[in-house]
Symmetry: C2
Subunit: 212 residues, 2 copies
């Protein structure tokens, strides 16, 4: 659809041109998928519809995402990264550690609350660290969360807000495991969000060695 080519384009390496096309097409696919997932939901959207909306063939779609669930990761990963980043950035810094942790985790729960059906699938498909058959990479997201948590622990210790001597990275993993499990029970449908948050607080308190 490009009528003319600039001199710069002509001089650019061939690989670059191809790569750019690829990126543009991927962006078109992800954007189409996002709209459809939001509109009709994940299960109700067919890969045919996505391909059609992105103006490509069915087969092409699967050259850009290995599976429909892979596509889901591509669509929502950036939002989740942003949510996590914002949650950590919003902390004042001198609150009690337990409060900081709860602020971060409830922010993330807020994000999931917007669409719990989607959250259920994300939880099952994204967070499950199973690389088999998975293309889209979520290590950046995990780095932000684990790194952020470990950072909070280390700082709290320096400020005397946390007395325990365990490795901050291990504490971070323990905390996240508890958050993850809370999400499971929440999205499993048996408990309300309030109950979940309350329970999570208790679990976090146990991990950091405080009485809730």
């Amino acid at each position: 659809m490009e009528a003319t080519k600039s001199v710069a384009d002509q001089n650019a390496p061939a690989v670059g041109r191809r790569e750019r096309n690829k990126q543009e097409k991927l962006a078109r696919i992800v954007s189409a998928a996002r709209e459809l997932f939001r509109d009709r939901g994940f299960a109700e959207t067919t890969t045919q519809q996505i391909a059609e909306a992105a103006d490509i063939g069915t087969g092409t779609l699967f050259l850009y995402a290995r599976s429909k669930e892979d596509l889901l990761v591509l669509v929502f990963r950036d939002e989740m990264v942003e949510t996590a980043r914002t949650a950590f950035a919003a902390l004042r810094g001198d609150e009690p550690l337990l409060d900081q942790l709860m602020q971060v985790f409830t922010s993330m729960m807020d994000y999931h609350q917007r669409d719990t059906d989607l959250a259920r699938i994300l939880l099952k498909e994204i967070m499950f660290p199973n690389a088999i058959g998975r293309q889209a990479d979520i290590s950046e997201l995990l780095d932000i969360i684990f790194g952020g948590l470990a950072d909070l622990i280390a700082r709290a210790r320096k400020d005397g807000r946390y007395a325990q001597g365990a490795n901050p990275v291990h504490v971070a993993e323990n905390l996240f495991a508890n958050y993850y499990f809370s999400l499971l029970t929440w999205l499993g449908g048996r408990v309300t969000r309030e109950q979940t948050a309350h329970r999570l607080r208790q679990h976090l308190a146990i991990t950091i060695g405080e009485v809730a």
Copy 2:
């Protein structure tokens, strides 16, 4: 295939007879599914094959299990219950709490190690406490695990092997969350079993407030 009927059978209420047939058919289905899952794996077994092996129509299969994954639960639930029960029963009772916990969890990991592909699916499909579309009930399994853990905590406290004051049920949940997350990373394929066990020990130690 019953050639004769006893007087007792003839006098038995009709509902009983029907119910018995239903149970027998379910047993046949579960048994057929178990064999096929073991032989070929979950993904490679089709519901058609299961139905054929159980000598019923395709549609009938879905009257006894709501989905293929439901069938998986029916097939392996009892084994998992047995594994958990045995793991708790095998404890001597006077070991340090952390050692007891590790014994229980490594026993359960032993079970999963026999077939990690299956474990991956079980972890995703069974343990995920999502009742939506799920028929087979795993509350007995969860009761055994949570109850067993809470019991260990309570006893250790009474014996002076555990000083913390938190609610044993909450501690049990925290411990299980860490076990569950360890399984995720293990079965995710990035780490060996030994690394996983070592890491788990650290996490459990943090939860119960000990230095590993």
